[in-house]
């Protein structure tokens, strides 16, 4: 018996709204379909109405986990357009925050993977230790999530000696913890049984479907913008690209742990080599007409911003490609012929960060399989009809 189950837009395994339609046969998934748009905020249009400086904060809010990635990618591009050369110390601090963010993102992911597999103790412990890096980030930038440390031409905050010592101390503590979690993740039989051999994506498929980031690297593709196209400080750093060729969720765990260990290495190098000097240069408000493609290796894969300027203080066009979008075609492929129980793990394994408009609700009539689309206003009316005696709330008119 084949039937369709809707995973999302509201589902406990998804922390953000996206709709996955699974055609299942018993416990086995036969086909999967992805529908986006539940979270589309029209950001690219909005960016055309804001100045370059304001857009830093806008791009930072594309994502909550890799906020620094998008802002850095944008700032890199704008600096190219304005022909600025940011000072060394500023660059070092900027990419120090980048690597700390990668650490925080990957630790978060490890916890989420544990939670999706029902391994809540693993989730609690990884997230406890993630607080170390969150505190470091808060100390450096003044905020836990949106660091807002980038500005055009450098960074906004400097590091002092005490902070440097604290970073080194925190990284040393995190390294031992990460090694321990790897030991648990690779040895706990019930966890390994859930992730090994699940969500297979061969190297050929990954290449054809343009997968990025840890998803691609776990399929044996050595693709890392930090190595392929070394931007800013990365050609001065000694690190390796972590890959695995098991092509499954276990491989993605291994890749992320390897990346964590490499990130610790980079952080230590940055802090030890931190040059003296200014942290920022003065930037003009306007950029010359031109275009630039800015690439950046975010924790989830490659970020790409295409910025076109027209000589004014606002960009003509800002195209943002977040890594998760690139991984969706691969996800559909991974889900096929898997078990229902593997949906959350496979989907979480690409570390989805769903940044995409919420105006309608789609109701699927299970019996007939037909879909009806209901506007939000209709839904509200239906709800009011169901509860005629409900106490009316104060009239709220939100700009919809």
């Amino acid at each position: 018996m084949k039937f369709q189950i809707p995973i999302g837009p509201q589902h406990p395994a998804l922390k953000e709204p996206i709709s996955l339609r699974m055609t299942v046969e018993g416990e086995v998934i036969r086909d999967a379909d992805i529908r986006l748009g539940y979270n589309h905020r029209g950001l690219e249009k909005l960016a055309e109405e804001k100045s370059f400086l304001q857009n830093i904060y806008l791009t930072e809010r594309i994502c909550g986990i890799c906020s620094h990635s998008h802002a850095t990618c944008f700032v890199q591009g704008v600096e190219r357009l304005m022909e600025l050369a940011p000072p060394k110390r500023g660059m070092y601090i900027r990419y120090l925050v980048s690597e700390l963010e990668r650490v925080h993102s990957h630790l978060l992911w490890l916890g989420v993977a544990g939670h999706e597999a029902g391994f809540d103790s693993f989730f609690m412990y990884t997230w406890r230790d993630r607080e170390i890096v969150m505190d470091l980030l808060e100390m450096i930038s003044g905020n836990r999530v949106h660091y807002a440390i980038n500005t055009i031409g450098g960074v906004r905050r400097d590091l002092d000696e005490g902070q440097k010592a604290k970073i080194l101390e925190g990284v040393a503590a995190l390294r031992t913890r990460t090694e321990y979690y790897f030991h648990i993740g690779a040895n706990e039989p019930s966890f390994v049984a859930r992730i090994a051999g699940v969500g297979r994506l061969t190297k050929e498929q990954a290449e054809a479907l343009c997968a990025v980031g840890p998803t691609a690297r776990a399929s044996g593709i050595t693709r890392d913008v930090r190595k392929d196209d070394p931007y800013a400080v990365y050609d001065e750093m000694d690190f390796e690209v972590g890959t695995a060729d098991s092509c499954d969720v276990l491989g993605r765990v291994v890749v992320r742990v390897k990346e964590l260990l490499e990130s610790y290495k980079i952080i230590e190098q940055i802090v030890r080599k931190l040059p003296e000097g200014p942290i920022v240069v003065r930037a003009p408000r306007k950029a010359k007409p031109g275009e630039v493609v800015s690439r950046y290796e975010a924790p989830r894969g490659e970020n790409m911003h295409y910025i076109k300027s027209n000589g004014s203080e606002k960009p003509e066009r800002l195209k943002v490609r977040a890594p998760t979008l690139a991984n969706y075609p691969a996800t559909v492929e991974m889900l096929r012929n898997g078990f229902i129980a593997d949906i959350p793990l496979i989907f979480a394994a690409i570390d989805p960060c769903i940044c995409c408009a919420e105006r309608t609700v789609t109701l699927v009539n299970v019996r007939s399989g037909e879909e009806t689309t209901v506007r939000l206003s209709d839904l509200r009316r239906r709800a009011a009809g169901r509860h005629p005696n409900a106490i009316p709330k104060r009239i709220a008119a939100w700009p919809l």
Binding site: R35, L36, G37, H40, G42, E44, K45, R80, E207, A208, L209, C210, A211, V212, R223, D228, D229, G290, E291, V292, V293, R295, E302, M304, Y306, K308, E316, R317, K319, R321, L325, A326, Y328, P329, A330, C356, A357, R359, T360, T362, T373, R375, R394, I395, A396, A397, W398, P399
Partner: protein, 157 residues
């Protein structure tokens, strides 16, 4: 392979099909082709230049033209294929036969710019809602979103 070598090889391989090859920045190569030569150029890039990875497709509204950029990345350089179609007949050929991973970007182009991607395997809307009024394409320059006045419930002032 350095940027200059790649540019020269592109000029030679594509001949007259390459309308313009520029190299504005380190590892950034912009190649312009006519819309009819797009699939041929993409196939060549994939087979000979190790550009199996399509990063994204961006569209730009340039008044009476649409500019479409295909951002490819190889380990050596970032090659961006640029092509232009007129607003009157915004037709572009799908490259999904060459690069299957392009499907989401092409669907996004259709949604946001109202381009028609011919022979696209899956033409459903991707990001816009199902009841989005037809003929509205948000990223066109003539499409303006009028922000309604903000009204805060509670009413003081």
């Amino acid at each position: 392979m350095s940027d200059v070598e790649i540019s020269q090889r592109l000029q030679k391989d594509l001949g007259t099909k390459a309308l313009e090859v520029t190299n504005p920045d380190r590892r950034r190569i912009f190649l312009k082709v006519a819309p009819d030569d797009l699939v041929a150029a993409v196939t060549l890039l994939r087979d000979k230049y190790d550009c199996r990875y399509l990063a994204t497709i961006s569209g730009v509204d340039k008044g009476d033209m649409f500019e479409i950029l295909y951002h490819f990345a190889s380990p050596a350089a970032n090659i961006n294929v640029r092509t232009e179609v007129t607003k009157d007949s915004p037709h572009i050929e799908s490259i999904c036969t060459v690069i299957p991973g392009a499907i989401f970007y092409e669907r996004e182009l259709q949604d946001m710019f109202g381009l028609v991607v011919d022979h696209i395997p899956d033409p459903r809307p991707l990001v816009l809602p199902d009841d989005w009024p037809a003929g509205n394409f948000p990223l066109r320059k003539d499409w303006k979103y009028q922000r309604p006045e903000e009204r805060i419930p509670g009413g003081k002032s």
